[in-house]
C-alpha cells in the first residue's frame, strides 16, 4: 500500500497519523497500544504482522519525555507503519507486547536497559547489554558519554582522564 493510502486506511482508527518522507507514523495512546497493534496485525489488507524494531528516544524537558516507537512491516503487503507512544519522565511505563510479538522480548529489554522505559507484563525485564548491577540508563540524554569509572566487582578504576598518569 502506498504511504498516503496506508495513512488514510489507519486514520479512522488512529486519528493522529502523518506521512513524512514516504514513511507513515501513527501516534498512539499507550492505553490503546495493544489493541491498535492487534488491529494492524489482523486487518487483512494491512497484515502488519512483523515487528521489525522497538526503540525509544529521550527528550528531557519536553513533554512527553520519551517516545517509544514500534516499526511494523508487512512481509506480504510490502509496506511499513511506525507506531509511537509518548511517555512522561515520571511515569515511563508502557505495556509489553511480548505476548503478541515474541521478538519484542529482547528489543524491550534493550530499551529498558538503555532508557529505563518499563514494559509492564514483560516476562524477564532485566538488563541485556550492561552488567546487571549497572546504575542508570546510558542512552538517556542526561547521561554523559564516557567519564564513568571503570569498575569490576570489588574494584574501581577511575576514568582515563582522572588517573593522574603523565
Amino acid at each position: 500500500m502506498r504511504p498516503e493510502e496506508l495513512a488514510g486506511r489507519v486514520r479512522p482508527v488512529v486519528p493522529d497519523v502523518m506521512v513524512a518522507r514516504d514513511e507513515v507514523t501513527a501516534i498512539v495512546d499507550r492505553a490503546r497500544l495493544l489493541e491498535i497493534l492487534a488491529w494492524c496485525r489482523d486487518e487483512p489488507d494491512l497484515e502488519l504482522g512483523f515487528l521489525s524494531c522497538i526503540t525509544a528516544t529521550h527528550w528531557p524537558e519536553a513533554q512527553p519525555a520519551f517516545w517509544v516507537s514500534y516499526e511494523l512491516r508487512s512481509i506480504a503487503k510490502l509496506h511499513r507503519l511506525r507506531l509511537k507512544v509518548g511517555l512522561s519522565e515520571a511515569d515511563p511505563h508502557v505495556p509489553s507486547v511480548t505476548a503478541m510479538f515474541p521478538t519484542a522480548n529482547w528489543l524491550e529489554r534493550e530499551t529498558f536497559d538503555f532508557f529505563g522505559v518499563v514494559f509492564d507484563g514483560h516476562p524477564d525485564l532485566t538488563r541485556i547489554m550492561l552488567p546487571e548491577d549497572w546504575e542508570g540508563h546510558p542512552l538517556r540524554k542526561d547521561e554523559p558519554l564516557g567519564g564513568v569509572p571503570i569498575w569490576y566487582h570489588g574494584a574501581t578504576v577511575p576514568p582515563i582522564d582522572q588517573r593522574g598518569m603523565a
Binding site: 518522507r21 521489525s52 526503540t55 528516544t57 516499526e71 515474541p102 552488567p131 548491577d133 546510558p138 558519554l145
Partner: protein, 436 residues
Amino acid sequence: MARDTSDMSAARDGLPDEAAAFRDAGTGELRQETMVINMGPQHPSTHGVLRLLLELDGETVIRCKPVIGYLHTGIEKNTEYRTWVQGVAYVTRADYLSPFFNELGYCLGVERLLGIEAPPRAQVIRVLICELNRVASHLIYLATGGLELGAVSVMLYGFREREIILDLFETVTGLRMNHAYIRPGGVVMDLPEEAPRKIRDLLDLLPHRIDEYETLLDDNPIWRERNEGVGVLSAEDALALGVTGPILRAAGVPADLRKDMPYGGYETYDFDVPVRSEADAYARYRVRIEEMRESLKIAEQAFRRLDDTPGPVMVEDPKVGWPPKLSVGPDGIGNDPEYLRHIMEESMEALIHHFKMVTQGVQVPAGEVYSAVESPRGELGFFIVSNGEHRPYRVKIRDPSFVNLQALPAMIEGYLVADSIAANASLDPVMGGVDR
C-alpha cells in the same frame, strides 16, 4: 567453561537471579537431576563472546538462555556526539563482517532526511561493493561453520577467498574492514585505476570456487548428518521471533528487502531470491551458497554498468559533499597531498570550507526515518532521528544478528548439545552487531 557455576547457587545481593529458570520451585536450589553449564563467553564455537546458559539432561539441551552484552561498545551513544559523517565510521564497526551494509543503511537514512539521492555512479559502486561484501560474509559463515563441525579444509578455503575480496576492498578504501567508504551523498571517492582489473579477476574466479565448496560439502555425509534436521525453525516461528535473512528464506518465506522494498537501484538488477523449505541448518547452508551466486550475478551487472555510468560519486552540493579530493594511503583514505597543498597554500576560501565541513559537517533537517537494507544476515535497520543540528539525535541500529539470536533457544531446546553448535553456526550471528 569461563565461569564456575557455583556462583549461580544463590542470587547475589540485590541483583536479578540469572539462573532463576533453572531452580526448583520448592527449595530454590538448582535442580539436581539436570546440569546447568555455561557455554562461553569464551568458547571457540560461539562466534565471539556469546554465553549460553544451558540446562542439560545428559546430552540433551532442556533449556537455553543466551547472555549477551560482552561486546557492548556504545556505538549508538557515540554517534550522538559526532558529526553525521563521522557517524559512518562508528556504525561500520557494528557488524564487522558486513561493514558496507552498515554504512549503506545509515547513509540511505541520512540521505532520506536530507532529501537527496546519491549520483548514479555512486549507486552502482555501492551495489557492486555490497554484493561482494555479502559473498565475503557468507564465506565466513562457511569457514567458521565448517570449522565448528570439523570441516577444517572449508575453513581454510573460505578464509582464502575472503582474503581476495578483502584485498579488493583494501585497494578501493585503503582498509580491509571498517571502511567508512560509503558516506551521506555518495561514496567518498571513485574506484582507483587498478580496481576494475581486480574486480574482473574476482568475478572470474569466485564462481568456480563456489562450485568447489559445493563439491566438498553438498553430499559430504558428515556435513549432511550434522546439519540436516538440525536447528529447525518453522516460518511461523521465525516471523514471530522477528527472524529475517537466509534463515527466514530457508523456511520458505521469500522475504528480501532488495526485492520487497528496493533501495539504491536494486530494482534495476536481475537476480533471484533463493528459497528452501526444509527450515534446517542444511537448508540455510544451501540458501547462502545460492545467494553467493546471485550476489556475483548482481556484481557482474553492476561491474558492466560502471563503464556506462560516468560522473561524480558524491552529490555536487558543497554543503553535503565532503571536500575533494582524497587518495588511498597506507592507513586508509586520507586527504590528497595535492589538495592539502591547495588549501594550505593557495586558497583561503577552500581552507575555510574544508574546516567547516570537517569540524561541523552537514546540517540535517529535523525528522526521523527508518531505513532498512538486506544485510547478509537479514533486515538491517537504522532508526535515525535528527533535531536539525550537525549531529544525530539518535541512531538505533536494528541489527539482524541481535534479533535472530533470540531464536536460538527455540532451535536447540530438545536437541543434543552438539546440535546447538551446528544450529548456532547456521544462525551466523556476529557479536559486534548483536552487542553494538
